[in-house]
Amino acid sequence: MNVFAIIGRVVLATLAEIGALSRFTWAAVSHILRPPFFWRLIAQQMLRIGYFSLPVVALTAFFTGGALALQIYYGGNSLNSEAIVATIVALGITRELGPVLGGLMVAGRVSAAIAAELGTMRVTEQIDALTTLSTNPYKYLVVPRVVAAVITLPALVFIADIIGVMGGFVVGTQALDFNAGIYVKNTVDFLKFDDVMSGLIKAGVFGFIIAVMGCFHGFNSKGGAQGVGRATTNAVVTASILILAANYVMTSLLFAN
């Protein structure tokens, strides 16, 4: 087959996908701002997306903080390691690892669940049924998930920050024999409000990505069980990649000066 034909087809398919995603995102955002609002559904989704993700995110943060403390200790100069470990763990967790790893874990958990649920609703015509019952599927299904994810992700990441720093503290004081008081003082002295805030802003954006990717792939799934499976995989993969890409862009913007 002609090579140019293959390249052309891939490019066209990619552009079509980007176009469809942009239109979907625009529709979702425009419906967020217009009534009616389904408060009960938003609360329900906050519970499912936020609260039930707590154990996964907390464990991830704890072990990451601990491993980070060990790496800095082994790799660094052992003379002033006590100060360096505390500082780098605090900055690393709040600026990058808390939001990114938290976002990726929630992407795996929540994007997949959303895509599977909405995908099944699509192939069993439940989404069409909403339309025939004078209920806009964007308002009823997409908006509550997006709003809930954007609100709960920063909260989750804030908790992850605390637990991650605590992971570093536990490893530092128990395995590396640091003084607990000095560790806490170093953490508090070097950690600035902006460090935490930048991580929370990132988390809000990641929440948006997670919910929109889950909804988009669920809405567009077709072809029965296999189609729903494909939608689920695509939701997790695209959400994860977009989170990492968005993280790079936001780091370069937020820490430019």
Partner: protein, 257 residues
């Protein structure tokens, strides 16, 4: 035609290279029951979804009560959608909600009725399709196929719509349950005085619920007439279809060994 409730004029729709609707012309007079017959994949479902606005046709006009639904803004369209009820092929019940809330969905979400009042109406509608109030507390997954169809019918008539669509109402049911559904359709429609458009390939259903019959083939309406005329239509396509013969002008795309 001033008494036309629904009118499709020269409606075209294609998916990629596949032409699904190739200039559909169809009129459903007010208060009548029109049944569209045709084989699988002839465009029956797509036609109904075009009228509901779930799928946008490529060209043509669709009128409901004399107004072109394709030129409406979203507010007008939502108002028009309130006139519709629909029974889906797979019932398309919301499996996250109990049965009564499924039936009451259009009342609670679409009409903003208080939940308690809506529940009373839901129980009443369930009784109409021969289901007790205790069924209302179950979830759709706990019901048999026939019961799900009956709940779907109760949901379709709950808002007392002016127009009801039936998408293969008897497909997948045993002959006796199919007849029960047909009777319920006839009774509930008579009660409401609704205009109905059904699509099916079940001739027993056609003979029971149709005032008029139209046959769709390759995206076009190739014949229409009253229920009595079906048996001597003089149309080879209709004859082949209603007698279920493999030989005739309609050739299935089956590779012969």
């Amino acid at each position: 035609m001033s008494d036309a409730k629904i009118e499709l004029r020269n409606v075209h729709k294609r998916f990629g290279k596949k032409v699904v609707l190739d200039g559909i012309n169809l009129t459903v007079p007010k208060g009548e029951s029109l049944v569209v017959i045709g084989g699988s994949g002839t465009g029956k479902s797509v036609m109904i979804k075009c009228v509901l606005g779930i799928i946008r046709p490529d060209s043509g006009e669709i009128f409901v009560d004399g107004k072109n639904v394709l030129k409406m803004d979203s507010g007008e369209r939502e108002k028009t959608l309130r006139k519709f009820g629909m029974l889906f092929q797979g019932a398309a019940l919301f499996d996250s909600l109990p049965v009564w809330e499924n039936v009451a969905f259009g009342l609670i979400q679409g009409r903003k009725m208080p939940r308690k009042k809506a529940k009373d109406i839901a129980v009443e509608k369930l009784a109409k399709v021969g289901l007790g109030a205790e069924v209302g507390e179950l979830y759709p997954a706990e019901l048999s196929g026939g019961m799900q169809k009956r709940v779907g019918l109760a949901r379709a008539i709950a808002t007392e719509p002016e127009i009801i669509f039936f998408d293969e109402p008897t497909t997948g049911l045993d002959p006796i349950m199919a007849d029960v559904i047909n009777d319920l359709i006839v009774d509930s429609v008579k009660d409401l005085g609704a205009t109905t458009l059904s699509i099916t390939h079940d001739m027993a259903s056609v003979r029971k619920i149709a005032d008029r019959v139209a046959m769709i083939y390759k995206g076009k309406i190739i014949w229409s007439g009253t229920r009595a005329e079906v048996d001597n239509s003089g149309n080879d396509y209709v004859d082949q279809f209603i007698h279920g013969r493999a030989e005739g002008p309609i050739q299935m795309e089956v590779l012969k060994p």
